[in-house]
Amino acid sequence: MVEEKERLPREVVAMRVAKELPDGGFVNLGIGIPTLVSNFIPDGSVVFYHSESGVLNCGPLAEEDEQDIDLINAGGQFLQMVPGMAFFSTVDGFAMIRGGHVDVTVLGAHQVSATGDLANWMLPERGVGNIGGAMDLAAGAKQVIVAMEHTDRSDGPKVVEECSYPITGKGCVSLIVTDLAVMQPTPEGLVLKEVAPGWTVEEVQGLTGAKLIISPDIKEYEL
């Protein structure tokens, strides 16, 4: 059945998310698919990246022979020094997030609920997890976009009616972009806005753990 059908590659998911970033906006990208988003900023647009490691306007990763242990991103990877970089303490870095100065954050997730609850910091079977900046981003960024695979490794739904994993933030997600669909959590429920080429609404619903409200102007994934 649907197993055989091709899903969108991670790069295309990232490309779709990149369209959502405001020109000139301040953006914080999480790890995984979100990291790829920076490769697909439309020509003529500028985005300023914020990292919890204490730097604004971070650019590409450093070449191996140019690594500086005092110049890292939130994941600990080495950054290139680029013009216009600004360093700051963690208090300032999180005042930017908590004070609503970060326009968009793009995060990965274990689960997202129909009303926009986000679960991305802990898998219960591990018994311990990392919060890092995720809860602050969920609570403080002006817009939270989730970019992830539509289902988990055993094809179980990651988009669910209610999160069964410990949540990162309540009702914080404004848009979910997966390798099958673009969905918008609303107080009324989850609105399906776009589907991947070659996929039907019914097929997407079959892999989604929440009832989808079909948008009146539903369309194919728009890049």
Partner: protein
């Protein structure tokens, strides 16, 4: 009555209270004149609410001055060699966080219980107009009130009755007037010194509160000897010598993100060698650099918090990112956690930063939406403000803090390098003893005061990282 003291003699008496290494906040009026008495190069730092730390009067000959450097009374001041420029939030944090040793204010009146009525509040009946006085009164570890003993109509400024509206309650420790020095002890006034020619009875006749006589009444004769003593040095020869008092069971702050930078590696190794046990570590990560391995040469391991965990020294961690990003590659800490050997308090990263800031700035707790409705909010006081859920988070402080800086001057002013500033700059004000490992210590005056990130007031000890020291082992 014999003549009263002039303002400069009062200022001289106030200045004689200052001890080497102290930070002193001066209010407007008479206290501002203390700056005229403190000699150039004296081992104390004056703090103005205008944002100058370590300022001098331009006449004292140090540094450039101008309208952009504002002292009390609105006068232009100059920065001394140990000076730096601070924002108003930093000024308030210095006071509220208990980093100011002495605050000197000129109130309109003081009560026998040490309550303080500021000029502006006194001058506007029915209106509480505290300005900066409330912060100065609440913040200085020791509060000196300087004021004329009586008002222009000869009514006493030192009174028994309390004020319906006060700028501070029970906060005054010492009162210096133009005829006497008094101490507030257990809510009562004790006369300590009198101006030359004045008797106990003379002073009592002009005082509106009972005044206990001292065993031995002295004449006011201020000595500035203590301002000639050199301030205690901060530079220690090496890591081990800087942590000899780091004790079992201590709470220690140590920064660290996923990369190998930002950690005081030499101090970490010194702490391992010392073998101190039962430590509570406050950190962003706890042993993640070693796991993610970025930049680590083949056959080597990054030095991070893992070396303390491995050595059985850690009892508890307060962290935001405590375990490996990959469950299949657990860190030393995660393994110890699973064995039940260490406790963990998990904190969102921004909340950790703010809790540390609050700890250093004398804020007991704050409301934040971060973590509301999650496991982090469980069991915490919560409230709805403007329709949004908030939880109450409490300040964090520590016994020691091991900081990674880049450059310091001999007075402990610190600049950082790149992203290694992150939690280091936040932790520095929040510990009782702050020890900084730097690449280089330069002379006072060699760092640009506009660029100082951590003023020396927060720094107790400096250690230079040994030449050629590697963050990998």
């Amino acid at each position: 009555m014999p003549p009263r003291l002039d303002e400069l003699t009062m200022a001289r008496r106030a200045a004689s209270e200052l001890q080497p290494g102290q930070v002193v906040a001066l209010g407007s009026g008479l206290p501002a004149r203390v700056a005229e008495i403190v000699p150039s190069g004296a081992p104390v730092q004056l703090l103005s609410d205008g944002g100058a730390l370590g300022y001098k009067l331009p006449d004292n000959g140090e540094g450039a001055s101008g309208p952009s450097l504002c002292g009390p009374n609105g006068v232009s001041v100059a920065l001394g060699k140990d000076g730096s420029v601070v924002g108003t939030a930093d000024w308030a944090a210095m006071l509220r966080g208990g980093h100011v040793d002495i605050a000197i204010v000129q109130p309109a009146r003081v009560s026998a219980a040490g309550d303080l009525l500021g000029w502006t509040t006194a001058a506007t009946p029915g209106l509480f107009a505290p300005g900066r006085t409330v912060d100065l009164a609440a913040g200085g570890r020791k509060l000196i009130a300087m004021l004329p003993h009586t008002s222009s109509d000869n009514s006493p400024n030192i009174v028994t009755e309390s004020f319906p509206v006060a700028d501070g309650r029970g906060c005054v420790d010492i009162i210096i007037t133009d005829i006497a020095v008094m101490r507030v002890e257990d809510g009562a006034l004790v006369l300590a010194e009198v101006a030359p020619g004045w008797s106990y009875d003379d002073v009592v006749s002009l005082t509106g509160a009972p005044l206990a006589p001292p065993g031995d009444l002295k004449e006011i004769a201020p000595s500035l000897e203590s301002l000639n003593i050199e301030r205690p040095g901060k530079v220690f020869p090496d890591g081990p010598s800087a942590i000899t008092d780091l004790h079992d069971g201590a709470t220690v702050m140590i920064d660290g993100f996923g990369g190998p930078g930002g950690m005081a590696h030499h101090l970490l190794v010194s702490l391992r060698d010392r073998g101190t046990r039962g430590l509570t570590i406050i950190s962003n990560t706890i042993g993640i650099a070693r796991i993610v391995n970025f930049g680590t040469p083949a056959g080597k391991l990054a030095i991070d918090h893992s070396i303390l965990v491995e050595n059985g020294q850690v009892a508890k961690a307060i962290a935001t990112y405590p375990v490996s990003p990959s469950a299949s590659r657990p860190s030393t800490f995660e393994l110890a956690y699973r064995r039940g050997e260490v406790e963990l308090e998990l904190v969102p990263q921004g909340t950790l930063a703010e809790r540390l800031r609050a700890g250093g700035a004398g804020i007991y707790a704050f409301y934040t939406p971060t973590g509301a409705g999650t496991l982090i909010g469980e069991g915490k006081e919560s409230r709805v403000i403007d329709g949004k859920d908030y939880i109450l988070e409490q300040a964090l402080t520590a016994d020691f803090c091991l900081i990674r800086g880049h450059k310091a001057d001999t007075l402990g002013n610190i600049v950082y390098k790149g992203t290694s500033r992150n939690f280091n700059a936040v932790m520095a004000p929040s510990a009782r003893v702050t020890i900084v490992e730097v690449d280089e210590v330069v002379g006072a005056g060699e760092l640009d005061p506009e660029l100082i990130v951590t003023p020396g007031m927060y720094v107790d000890r400096l250690v230079v990282r040994p030449e050629g020291f590697s963050p990998y082992e």
